[in-house]
Each structure stands twice: as C-alpha cells, then as structure tokens.
C-alpha cells in the first residue's frame, strides 16, 4: 500500500511538473538545445522594444530579441537570436517599430534601400552604420511619441489657459459680475412682463383654440363636400357639370374672338384718330407760330386793331346812313 502510494504520488508530481515545464516552454517558444544565429544591432533609442519581442524578416517571424544593453557613447545594443534558416538581406538594417496598436513592438530586418523615405531616419541609420560587425538600427516613432506630441499640445493649451487666467483679472471679474447682475435684472423684468401678459396670452390661447375648432369644423365641411363630390362623381351629375362647363367654355371662346375683332378695329380707329390729331396738332402749331392766314389772324395784333377801327367806322357809317339816308341814297325816277 505504501509503495503504491509512493508510485501514484510520484507519478502525479512528475507528470504535473513535466506538463508545466512543457507548457511554459511551448508558450514562450523557447528552443532548447537548438543552434541559432546571433545578430546585434546598434540603436540610439529602442523605444518600447523589450526582450522577447519578435524579429521579423520579410514579414515572417524569424527570431526573438534576446537582450537589450546600454553601450558606450549613448548607444543601445540589441541582441537578437534568429532561426538558422533565416537569410538576411544584402545590406541589412534593423528597424524597431510597433507591431500593433496595443503597444507590442518588433524588430524588422529590412534592406537599406527599402527604408522608408524619411530624412531623419536615413540620418539615424547612417549614424548607426559607423561600427563594423554590428547592424545599424533605428526606431520608428510609435504611439508613445504621438502621445508625447499630444502632451506637448496639452501643455501649450494649459499655458494659453493660464494666460487667459491672467487676463481674467479682478476688473474682468467685476465686469462679469455686473453682466450677470444685468442678466438677472433682465430676467426679472422679463418675468414681470410675462406675468403682466399672462392674461393676454391666455386670451390668445383661447382664441387660438377657437380658431383650431373652427378649422376642424371647416375641415369637416370640406370632408363632407369632398364626400359629396365623390358621390357626384359616382352619379351622372358630374358628367353633366363637365358638359355644361365645356359649352360655357366654347361660348366664352366665341365671345373672346369677337372681342378680339373689336379690339383690332378699335386699334385701326385709334391709329386714324392719332393721325388726325397729329395733323391737327401740326396745324395748331403752325397757327401758334403765326404761319398762314389763321396764324396771322391769331397772332398779329395790328390785324385786330385794323379790324376794330374798320368795325367802328362801319358802325359810324351805318349810323350816318340811318341819319342821313339821302346823302347816300338818291332815288330818281326818270
């Protein structure tokens, strides 16, 4: 029994320990006893790269970062272990960049001529290429740098806010308080006005309600009319109505043509009258200007004077004739 217990307990202990070790090794993707290619790259800054991050060659995970160490003169050396089957590009450069939005980083081995077109990156790589036997490297900006820029912007906003705070001194506060007091007074006045006109508003509301009622009633009437029209449509009345309308339209058309003829005639008469008036106007103008007999009669005052003196002489002659007929009339018989 005791021996059986030993065997069972020993088996369980060993099995669980073995399972745990195998599980950890599998999850961590550790390669026990397998030869690997050691590669070291040279960086100014490694960003958020950590030991254990993937090394990607041509988009495929080909190894892991084994160590990150500070080097002299402000450099950082990153040691990587690559699968022996991995073939590096002709002129390799290691870029550290984010592999996802969740903060994972990776080392990407690319050919120098395939680097992104960025002057700062090119300078960094050129700077890192000074040491022989170590691959040059550069880190690409990640979310961290973007958030740093955002932080700088936030700082600027804070300084602007502080300036606004400085500008907002006691006098500004007093003005603001006065404005608020004015607004309060205004609202009090408005409230008074509203209370004063409350009854008017009530009346208006009642009238509006009545208007709505009337509108409802009208709508009812319209509905009834529509119903009647509908029923008229269904019976023969509507057809008769349309026929009557058609006859009336014909007569109207006839009357309109007569009116049109009359208008045409009137237009010719008007033209003749206008011509007559133009001629009359011309005659009158001439008369006014003193041209012609009538013009001279109308415009020459000497004619009037002669006529007047002639008339007066005729009147004297007539009186003389009536007084002394014998002077002018001699009747002789034989």
């Amino acid at each position: 029994m005791k021996r059986a217990n030993d065997v069972i307990v020993g088996s369980v202990v060993l099995a669980v320990i073995a399972a745990l070790i195998i599980g950890i090794v599998w999850v961590k993707q550790s390669d026990i006893g397998r030869r690997q290619l050691d590669v070291t790259a040279h960086f100014r800054d490694v960003g958020n790269a950590r030991v254990g991050n993937s090394v990607v060659v041509r988009g495929v995970i080909g190894g892991r970062i084994e160590g990150i160490e500070l080097a002299p003169n402000g450099w950082v050396n990153v040691r990587m272990k690559l699968d022996p089957s991995v073939r590096l590009p002709a002129d390799p450069v290691v870029l550290l960049n984010e592999s996802s939005l969740f903060g994972d980083w990776q080392a990407t081995v690319v050919e120098r001529r395939a680097l992104p077109a960025d002057a700062a990156l090119a300078r960094e790589v050129a700077d890192a290429s000074q040491v022989s036997g170590i691959l040059p490297g550069a880190s690409l900006p990640g979310i961290g740098k973007l958030t740093a820029v955002a932080g700088q912007i936030a700082g600027d906003v804070a300084s602007v806010a502080s300036r606004v705070g400085t500008a907002f001194d006691d006098s500004a506060a007093r003005d603001l308080r006065a404005s608020i007091r004015n607004v309060a007074d205004l609202s009090t006045t408005l409230r008074g006005v509203a209370q004063a006109h409350a009854s008017d508003l009530d009346t208006l509301g009642v009238q509006l309600r009545r208007a709505v009622t009337t509108l409802n009633r009208t709508a009812g009437v319209v509905e009834i009319t529509a119903r009647r029209l509908d029923s008229a449509t269904t019976s023969d009345q509507f057809r008769q109505l349309v026929t009557n309308f058609s006859d009336a339209a014909f007569e109207l058309r006839h009357a309109a043509s007569q009116v049109r003829d009359l208008t045409t005639r009137l237009q010719s008469t008007q033209a003749r009258a206008e011509a007559f008036l133009a001629v009359g106007d011309s005659v009158l103008s001439k008369m006014n200007r003193g041209q012609g007999t009538f013009g001279l009669l109308l415009n020459d005052p000497s004619v009037y004077a002669h006529a007047d003196s002639t008339l007066r002489e005729l009147r004297a002659l007539s009186a003389d004739i009536r007084a002394n007929p014998k002077r002018y009339l001699s009747v002789r018989l034989f």
Partner: protein, 265 residues
Amino acid sequence: MTALLLPVQRVGHVTRAMLGSVGRASRFVADSLRSLREGRTWSSQTVLQMRRLGVDSLPIAAFIALFTGIVLALLASYSFTGAVPLYFVGTLVEKTVTLELAPVLTGLALAGRVGANIAAELGTMRVTEQLDALETLGYDPFAFLVVPRVIAGIVMFPLVVGAAMIIGVAAGGLASVFLLHLSAAEFTKGLRLFFQTFDVQYGLVKSASFGAAVTFIGAASGMRASGGAVGVGRACTRAVVFSAVLILVLDALWAVTWLLGRSPT
C-alpha cells in the same frame, strides 16, 4: 460605576480573546515547526497525506478549471466584441487562470475538501482521546499528524493548481476554437502575447501559501475540538470558514506585496 466600566470590560475581553487566538495559532505553528526535527516520524506519513490531500483532489480541481476556462473564454469574447481583437481571449484566459482563478478557486475547493477532512479526522481523534494515547505512547502528535499534512498541503497544492492551470487554459482554448470560431493559431497568439513565466510562478507560490494555511487551520481546529460529535462538526465548520477567509486575505496580501508595482513586461 459598574455600568460605566461594562463597555471597557467588554473591549478588554474581546482584545484578550483576539490576542489569545493569535497566541494559540502562533504556538501551534511554533510547535509544528519544532516537530520538523522528528523527520523519521513525519516522513513515513507524508506520502500518504500527499496522495490523500493532493492526488485525490485532482478530479475536483480539474472539474473546476475545465468550466472556469470555458466560461472565461466566453466572457472574454462577450466583452471584446467589436472593440478588441478576439485573439486577446487567449491573453485574458492565460492571465486570469494562472494569476488568479486557478489558485483561488482550487484553494477554496480544497479548503472545503482538505480542511474539513483534516479537522474531522483530528477532531475525532481528539474527542476519542486517540491523541492522548499517542502522547502516552511517546509519539509527538504534531510530528505524526500535523507536519505530514502541512508538508503535503504545501507541496501538493501547487501541483494541483498547476494541473488546474493547464486544464483551464486548454479548456479556454478549446472553447475558443469550438464555440467562438477562433482559430487555434489566434488563441495561441493571444496566449503568447503577454505570457511570462512569472504568471505561473506567482500562482504556484500563492497556492503553496494557501496549502499551508488550509492544512494548519484544519489541523488546529481538529486538535482543539471538544464535546463529542457536535464539537467535531463545529471544528470542521470553523476550519472551512477560516480557511476560505484566509485564502482571500492571503490572495490580497500576495497581490499587494508581490504584484503591485511590478512592470507588466
């Protein structure tokens, strides 16, 4: 005057009782540690206790871990829908199972099973005066009864929890593949994304402390049992309740002392 002194007297009584409990527990632990010297006595019993407390507890631990892993995967996918890539189900299952659920749930289950078992066994021995008989025969009851159980608890709890971790993560993976239509590769990617050996180490160390707490409390409750079957029942209840409470307290303590301030990478 007597009425005024009554509350003060009550506070003093409670304080003395609490300190008395701490003192008794400390003395119990000290006696157990002192009995470690008698290796010949406890070593013969340790393997038997390891089987009873550890190996025989594997099915219940496996059962709990299996369903915990499945439910965790489903809960994670429910929470991540549309917002977080689904392969993070693997990350969440791994982190939650190894750091928290496997140690604590298994610890609580074993507090019931193991703690009650020890309290009932030792309590019965106490009320039937078998412990007195052992002392009369020259056996140290701590070396013969307590130390093997405590050692078995400290050794076997991490193993049971380790097995629960493997089963829980595997169950989460299977649930992800068969219920969430997540590929095994995606689950593995999430699993590996933030995995650290520390996760397993933390869970195992924590569970060892749970094992020590459960076995110590079970043994102490049993050895202090009195009053026949009723006393044994009370000892069992006390052992389970105190063990469960202490597991949660230790869990928080480990989190504060070891996890807090530690970099995630």
